[in-house]
């Protein structure tokens, strides 16, 4: 009976229903896209670092595993010490530089050692780095920025010559010579990270322990754990950002539902009087209002999930380097967030409706 009643109520004012559902949908989309973008960004960089093919990553003390955010490079001489350790097959020193204009990391690499660790680039076009001003770009970057082989690419006020387009997935999207990047950044004989390849994958823990002994305060990370570390909640700054965005979304949902249900209750004052005359309890009336809210929120959540996938598809079409990760967990969470915000927003209108004086309500015009 209540289900029929709220369905009829919702259908009775289609525009109000549409606007309310749309607002809840926007709220849900906001949550899903914000979380999807941040975790997409993280998982994407994690995947790329994994794609390097190294077993262990060594970084300076207190460095973030998101290398873009790390500064303070290490002396390159450490690479030689690492290479002498047991079970270590190859060590690739890399200097990373954050290109703020394009939000991309540039790797400065030593060709021989990088190839030894990664197994070498797969070239779509062109050839490997030869000259000091040469640069390799990956296929995704080339496609999204419409970069052609042989063109000039300006980075850090320096003109680079695009000599090769390579398969994506080797840590960064842009690669230059280590020495070039060192010189440009004034970081002579420095590296930001050492990628280490062990002779056998199951020697990784042993080598990790060795390095930790050799370089006690340094960040030594087996790369197999990296993906599990790459979640938004593991980064305090991002977690706070996401929480703020969720807070904003909840406030939107709260206000929209509040207003929608508040005006609905006023419009239905006489009907509430009738229900009271028929002997409907306060709980019965609260139940009707909250059930209707739940229906609107569920409608909004479903529409919001659809809208999220649509937005995500549009974003990726417009910005191919972006990754938006929409996980079932966050779809569920976003729906629950909308529902909780909506029910909070409906709480006062429901209470107000349940407390109406029946005689006054019946006389309402």
């Amino acid at each position: 009976m209540i289900r029929y009643m709220i369905t009829q109520n919702v259908l009775h004012r289609p525009l109000r229903t549409f606007i309310t559902v749309l607002a809840v949908a926007v709220e849900v989309t906001l949550v899903i896209i914000v979380v999807g973008l941040t975790s997409g960004l993280l998982s994407e960089s994690a995947k790329r670092i994994e794609g390097v093919g190294a077993d262990i990553m060594v970084q300076p003390p207190q460095a973030s595993y998101l290398m873009a955010f790390s500064g303070a490079p290490m002396p390159i001489a450490i690479a030689d010490k690492l290479a002498q350790l047991e079970y270590v097959q190859a060590v690739a020193p890399v200097l990373t530089q954050f290109n703020t204009s394009g939000i991309e990391i540039v790797y400065g690499i030593d060709k021989a050692s990088f190839n030894a660790v990664t197994g070498g680039f797969v070239f779509h076009e062109g050839h490997d780095l030869r000259g000091l001003d040469d640069i390799l770009v990956d296929d995704v970057y080339a496609k999204s920025k419409k970069i052609k082989l042989g063109q000039t690419l300006q980075l850090f006020n320096h003109d680079f010559h695009v000599v090769g387009i390579v398969e994506h997935g080797k840590g960064a999207r842009l690669f230059v010579f280590l020495s070039t990047l060192q010189e440009m950044g004034g970081a002579h004989d420095k590296a930001s990270v050492f990628f280490i390849k062990c002779d056998r994958a199951d020697h990784t823990p042993a080598v990790t322990d060795e390095i930790k002994e050799l370089l006690p305060r340094y960040e030594v990370r087996p790369l197999r754990d990296l993906m599990s570390l790459m979640t938004s909640s593991n980064l305090p700054g991002l977690a706070a950002f996401i929480n703020v965005m969720i807070g904003i979304a909840v406030v939107i949902g709260f206000l929209v539902i509040f207003l929608s249900m508040y005006t609905t209750i006023i419009e239905r004052t006489r009907e509430i009087g009738v229900l009271k005359a028929l002997g409907a309890s306060k709980g019965y009336i609260v139940r009707i209002v909250l059930s209707e809210t739940t229906l609107l929120c569920i409608g909004g959540a479903v529409a919001g999930v659809g809208l999220s996938f649509l937005m995500s598809a549009i974003f990726i079409k417009l910005f191919p380097t972006l990754t938006i990760l929409i996980t079932p967990l966050w779809v569920l969470r976003a729906g629950l967030i909308a529902l909780v915000g909506g029910l909070l927003g409906a709480a006062y209108p429901a209470w107000m409706a349940s407390r109406k004086d029946p005689v006054e309500a019946l006389a309402y015009e």
Partner: protein, 248 residues
Amino acid sequence: MLKATRIFPSSDSLTLEGERLLEPILKTENLWKVYRQGKVEVPALRGVSIDIFPGEFVSIMGPSGCGKSTMLHVIGGLAQATSGRVLLDGNDLTTMSDSARTLLRRHKVGFVFQRFNLLPTLDAYHNITLAQHIHGNGFDPHRFQVVADLLGLSGRLNHKPSELSGGEQQRVALARAIVSEPKIVLADEPTGNLDTKSSEAVLGLLRQLNQDLGQTIVMITHNPEAAAYGHRVLHMRDGEVVDGSSVH
């Protein structure tokens, strides 16, 4: 308790065929209702004492502002009395909490209003079964059918109020009022918004409900012709019952 269908009581209680004492289903004792408008107190009811017996059809007549609507609200448990007593089926409404009065309305009172007051979003069928749903005993198809047949609604059940004439809406409202078998039906100017023909039909149905089902009815009206459908008429003026004569 006797199931009386044709009684014309004229005093507080009466002996039926000299055997049993019949208790009123509704009794008010020195009932006062005072509204406060700012600093001015406006008495709407001034010491009303009436008895309504089971199976009676009583009309309350009086000019507008005489307090008859207030009377209906107080005896139906929609409004709290200022002083005095209202006994409905043995329960004193004046000492009850708001939620207890709600419960009493649910189980013992059926309302019929001048403006029909059907829920506009629900069809006739759901407007009627809503009362059963709130009543809490679930859908009773037998009772529903009896009521729908009696009120001639069977063909109109899937229409919304906006698709029904005034007379049909009021018949749906009547069905809603009696479908949960209340002890008393309180009708507030049930023909006030109807033309003569529909008014006669609705009044005829009220009388039929009273005769066939033994339904106790209290009806407010300012129309003497409508009032004449009851067994007796109580006249009200300035918040008091001035004459309780029988019309039959």
